[in-house]
């Protein structure tokens, strides 16, 4: 029986259980006569829900637990039935054999010759799976039915059904709210573990301070270019340069747009221009990447040639410029919020002293809004550092340590993508390096975010 069918059956059973519980509650009120409704502790719906929960939850729990343990248990049983000489194989060879058996059972292509004992094992595997599935179905359905009848038996006028149901619901709410913590832990653990494995091979100092990045790992020792270098400084420098260019584009344009829209523009212009600017933030980054690679990079290259400069076709300038465009609405909407939060009384005070509007803005509003703007800019920087698609499509792959924005540089995110896309083995420092870079990226953006959120929150409190 397929799992989705089982879930469907379980759902139907719960619906039936709900009806059973509800009718039971109603029949209790009827037995109590006219004052029936006051006899029950909770409304009949809650008795129905409680029965449904009793029907569904234990069964679902068993179902999930089985789904998690099943591969492990079945593999153990399978190994126990294999001939002793296969059982005696070392673990990795045994795993190969097991893989072959599983492939054989599901009718896939098998590596090597099919031996009769493998055939038998595959049959055994198929049987085991069929038995397991049947057993699971029987267990789940009978548990659901037992749960239903147990709950139905328990229904008395004194049963505090509502409290029980609410307790379950509250528990569900709490479980949902802890997702953020689990995700963070998951990110930290997954990145950290692989990174630590990487740092066992490559010393952390070499990674953080090395000046050469060429993530190759030799298959043979005498191979050409066998010496991989994992010094990440060129990668960090490239990230810094592209983000820097992006901020040079985004901060002036975004800030000036925000000032104009919130202080000068009339209502009509603002109503049109602001949503249009926000569209820039809604465009997927892959579109920006395509735009950068197709239009901006060749344009800058042509421009460089006419001026007589040698511009790489994957120049940092093109990637940074387009990334800056992407970040404009980010800076402008955050600055807009902050500028609007500056109390009108401060503006009025400055204007009353005879300052022009621009002087008011430059000398009163901006200094007052500065912490918030800085927080916004920091968030934008963290965004720029973590941005992937634009740089993957428009920036280079080779790590050059250069300060020339017309040359190709690479970034942390580009390296992560190139190292991890495609087939990979999980023991080579080459793939593990991606996780080390991911760790650096996560830590850097985390620090920026924490500072930015702190600054913004502190600032908001000041004027509220």
């Amino acid at each position: 029986m397929s799992t989705s069918l089982l879930i469907l059956i379980l759902f139907c059973l719960s619906t039936i259980a709900y009806q059973l519980g509800r009718t039971r509650a109603f029949s209790l009120t009827r037995m109590a006569g006219d004052r029936g409704r006051q006899v029950l502790h909770s409304r009949p719906v809650y008795y129905g829900m409680l029965t449904a929960l009793w029907c569904g939850l234990p069964a679902l729990f068993v179902f999930v637990a089985w789904q998690i343990c099943e591969p492990w248990i079945i593999t153990k049983l399978l190994v126990a039935h294999l001939p002793p000489e296969i059982q005696a194989l070392p673990e990795n060879r045994l795993n190969l054999v097991l893989n072959d058996i599983k492939n054989l059972a599901s009718g896939n292509i098998v590596s090597g010759v099919i031996r009769p004992e493998m055939e038998a094992a595959a049959n055994n595997y198929r049987n085991l799976q069929a038995t397991a599935n049947a057993a699971l179905a029987v267990a789940v359905i009978s548990l659901a039915i037992i749960g239903t009848f147990y709950a139905r038996q328990r229904i008395t006028p004194f049963l505090r059904a509502r409290n029980h149901v609410e307790k379950v619901l509250t528990f569900f709410f709490i479980a949902c709210s802890t997702f953020a913590i689990f995700t963070t832990i998951g990110i930290v653990l997954s990145v950290l573990f692989e990174a630590i494995r990487f740092f066992r091979v490559i010393p952390i100092t070499e990674f953080l301070f090395g000046l050469e990045w060429s993530p190759q790992m030799a298959i043979r020792a005498d191979q050409v270019g066998s010496s991989g270098a994992f010094g990440a400084i060129p990668v960090f420098a490239g990230t810094a340069m592209i983000s820097g260019i992006a901020m040079l584009v985004a901060v002036p344009l975004g800030l000036m747009s925000a000032i104009y829209l919130s202080e000068y523009a009339n209502k009509k212009f603002r109503a049109v221009a602001k949503p249009l600017l926000e569209i820039l933030a809604g465009i997927p980054t892959v579109v920006y990447g395509f735009f950068a690679a197709l239009t901006v990079a060749p344009f800058i290259r042509e421009l460089g040639i006419t001026v007589g400069l040698d511009v790489s076709s994957e120049s940092a300038l093109a990637a940074g410029l387009v990334m800056g465009i992407m970040i404009i609405p980010f800076v402008s909407s955050l600055s807009d919020d902050v500028i609007n939060a500056v109390p009108q009384a401060m503006r009025d005070g400055a204007l009353a002293l005879g300052a022009t509007k621009s002087e008011t803005i430059k000398q009163v509003v901006l200094p007052a809004a500065l912490p918030g703007i800085v927080g916004g800019v920091l968030l934008a920087v963290s965004r720029a550092i973590g941005e992937t698609m634009i740089v993957v499509m428009a920036a280079g792959l080779a790590a050059n340590l250069t300060a020339n924005p017309l040359q190709a540089v690479t970034t942390v995110t580009v390296q992560i993508v190139t190292l991890l896309v495609g087939d990979q083995e999980f023991n080579s420092p080459k793939t593990l390096a991606a996780f080390a870079l991911g760790l650096v990226l996560f830590v850097a953006t985390l620090i920026l975010n924490i500072i930015a959120l702190y600054v913004v929150r502190k600032y908001r409190e000041q004027y509220e």
Binding site: S177, I187, G386, M389
Partner: protein
Amino acid sequence: MSNPNTEGPSETQIENSRAIDIVNMGLARRYSREQRFKLYGLIAVIISLSFLALLFFTIISNGHQAFFQTYLQLEVFFNPDFIDINNPANSNFPGLVKQTLSNEFPAVTGRREKKELYGLVSTGAAFQLQKLIRQQPDLVGKTVKIWVPTDDDVDMLMKGHIARDVPESDRRLSDKQLAWLDKWTLDAKIAKKFNRAFFTSGDSREPELAGILGALVGSILTLTLTLLLSFPTGVAAAVYLEEFAPRNRWVDLIEVNINNLAAVPSIVFGLLGLAVFINFFHLPRSAPIVGGLVLTLMTLPVIIIASRASLQSVPPSIREAALGVGASKMQMVLHHVLPLAMPGMLTGTIIGIARALGETAPLLMIGMVAFIVDIPTGFTAPATALPVQIFLWADSPERAFVERTSAAIIVLLVLLVVINSLAVILRNRFERRW
């Protein structure tokens, strides 16, 4: 200062007049500075918006042609020699196409010439004939006029992307091929028609056969899962944090975490998906189920933050009234607060889903970047997503893929506009201002 009665007033008068003079002298400069500052602001807005215009212009001017495709009309005689009616899959349909092309130009005899002639028609033509015979086996032995797709080079020539006046060696099409094409054009056998393949087929190495349906289905599967998982979880988490949670360090920790996750780079979520879902739980690679889980983790913070804002905007009087007539706290939330906050929550969810639709980087990490021709059939079948397809096509060298990439982007942007306007409509119609 020693004698303020005699000299004082006159001095202040002088100083006053000086001050006002200084102010007046500076006024013109200050006003022009004011004008300049205002102009800078306007220029910033105009530059930003012109970038937007340029982006749309580039995409649309490149992409609109991909919705039409060059087709060639062939008079195909379904020669029984080529077709095994019982086994269409094994029949020599490519041979049939070649035979038909040779009949068009009987003078072509040389091996190289023939190859050039055959190269004008897409390899998809043979599949098209095969499909036709499967549907209508009685066509065998008859002659039928059929429109088949041309090769992408021919398509590019017809759309003006291949220059005719350059030397033959610099051109993707030879002089002879051009001559044949001109003859067909004169006979009105070449025409541009609506490109149905673009919307009905999966990926292909041949630009003229490549379509977005596979990627679109992959995206829909992934986002369905994202929506199903993230909406209930996000709403439940928001309700707990906003309505039930005590103010303590644990809850503070959760809040800080949510705010941080909202700003973590998306590629880090991809790393999480790779390490946890694929390497630890051994879920299948390239599958929408993993994509859906990763995107769920990514969109949840957005949904929770929006839902909390929406819950906060429900006035306390509603809560007090519900509690006042004897509702339990849970009843108060579920029966009164939640329905009122629902439009705002839905809007936040839709915006989160729209963001997930455009997300590419985490999907690259979990292997949804493979070349997949089949239309995905389920949550565990290998699939790509629309933005990933755009990324893959953008990398392809053929000129014809440039316009296909742009066309796929147009489709993606249209979807985003539809989804976002749904959110706006929802907000305008149902959201209440208290």
